[in-house]
């Protein structure tokens, strides 16, 4: 069930230039039944003049401690206000939102996880989930701007980790697909999150290889729950909810089969 809940900050710190890791704890009574990799939450800035929740992917779910971890970049005033919170502060959150990845569908496969920049965080929970499914092999290729890496420790604990940097200071010089080619990775399926040019390249890559690609899309959102129709992506076929070639990213997504969206 989706709810607006008040969470408590149990950890917050900068993990790279302009990148923050924030862990929020549920009150016992607010615990969600299930959290899937690729799902997200709407975090409300602590600012009376900014009213909309900020969609941020779940980086890690720790059911035992009732904690959600988020990793975000300070893109504007809303995320800056979130970054200014301190341990013990309260943050309002709308969650859990979106469909998420379906690890069951990927069981037993060689799965390639691709993350670019601020698309990296959701790959951590996905890698963790996949690594628990016997016979499933995870290779992650993550793209950074430069040597100011983050979440590499977490990712490498679930499988092989390739790194690409724009400036070539670590790993492959170039983007994540350059790293994939350089290392001749031959996956059965791809899961990706990152900027649109990367996702387009991933779609093409998967098409060429004839493998499925599940990509997580971004769009400006208002409600986050499917009511406002603000956050649509163009689809190849008529969408079963909207009855036009538009699907709501917050509800039918954010994760889509790459071949089904017209990006």
């Amino acid at each position: 069930m989706k709810r607006k809940t008040t969470m408590t900050v149990t950890d917050i710190r900068s993990i790279a230039e302009g990148i923050y890791s924030m862990t929020l704890q549920y009150r016992k009574e607010d615990m969600p039944e299930e959290v899937k990799p690729g799902q997200f939450a709407g975090l409300y800035p602590n600012d009376a003049s900014r009213l909309l929740p900020r969609p941020i992917s779940i980086c890690r779910w720790d059911a035992e401690n009732r904690e959600l971890r988020f990793v975000f970049r300070t893109a504007g005033a809303g995320t800056a206000s979130l970054a200014a919170q301190k341990t013990g502060d309260k943050v309002d959150m709308l969650g859990i939102l979106g469909n998420g990845y379906d690890p069951e569908k990927l069981a037993g496969k060689k799965v390639l996880l691709l993350g670019g920049g601020i698309g990296i965080p959701p790959m951590v929970e996905l890698a963790a989930a996949l690594s628990k499914i016997p016979g499933t092999e995870v290779t992650a290729a993550m793209g950074y701007r430069n040597s100011d890496l983050f979440l590499t420790e977490e990712l490498s604990s679930y499988g092989k980790l390739l790194i690409a940097t724009e400036d070539g200071s670590v790993g492959t010089k170039g983007n994540v697909l350059d790293a994939v080619r350089e290392n001749a990775v031959e996956p059965d399926a791809v899961c990706a999150c990152g900027p649109m040019p990367m996702l387009r390249a991933v779609k093409k890559f998967a098409q060429e290889k004839g493998i499925p690609a599940y990509i997580s899309l971004e769009e400006r959102m208002a409600c986050g729950v499917g009511a406002c129709l603000g956050c649509v992506t163009k689809t190849v076929e008529v969408d079963s909810h909207s009855h036009v070639r538009n699907a709501r990213i917050c509800t039918e997504g954010p994760v889509f089969d790459a071949q089904e969206v017209a990006i």
Partner: protein, 307 residues
Amino acid sequence: MEKSSRRPDMSVNIAGVELKNPVMTASGTFGSGMEYSEFVNLDHLGAVVTKGVASVPWEGNPTPRVAEVYGGMLNAIGLQNPGIDVFIERDLAFLKQFDTKVIVNVCGHTEEEYLDVVERLADQPVDMLEINVSCPNVKQGAIQFGQDPKCLEEITAKIKRLAKQPVIMKLTPNVTDITVMARAAEAGGADAISLINTITGMKIDIEKRQFVLANKTGGLSGPAIKPVAVRMVWQAANAVKIPVIGMGGIASAEDAVEFMLAGASAVAVGAMNFHDPCLTQKVVDGMEQYLVRHNISAARELTGAVL
């Protein structure tokens, strides 16, 4: 002061339709109720007003369709909707399960399209129609009906001739004199008017030097517009005899009471649903508490009761 021990009467009557309380949802901010039924019990609302529906499916505008601004948001959804057939089959069927009134918001590019939808709804379980002649986000049609009193009167009259349910005309605030438009709707035979729709606005990303919305302009809603909305509701309510449904930036029960005092017979909660998905319920509860605190026996007594 003695406080009555009986609970105040929250019901209001709009054009012969008895609502259990004056709190509605604003069209386009609550889907068809389905999405928010996870957060609020729709049985507790005066009415659910659905997202605008047209005679055929509309794709709406390209994205970005929404932008946050200080104290509110801009939207240029462009009235994406699945068309009246799917709407009847799926959305009305869903809403029928609840003990609340159903108000269907109708949109169109042309007169014929409006009339088509109105006709299709004639034998449906719908309590009222709300006619959106005021969307600022569709290029062709719509807005002109809402900005020209003659057009507004004419289309109102035509819809009234066909409609089997009471008709609410929804007015745009993007006019010089709202009382002229309110009177035109009344003259055309409208059973009620609702206002305000969004005020046309714009946001530019100064770093990218481009419009934030693909549509360039969008409709401003949220707390930022409340003073303008309250003023227009007050003006309109003083200009016509038909009931006025007030909206624009309602963020609390106090705001809802303010609209009632200004002259509204009912109110609608819009963009602030996105801030707090349980807001409608809180407005209902808070309004009842206000009545108790002020020893007012019925919500309808608030209407126009500013001194």
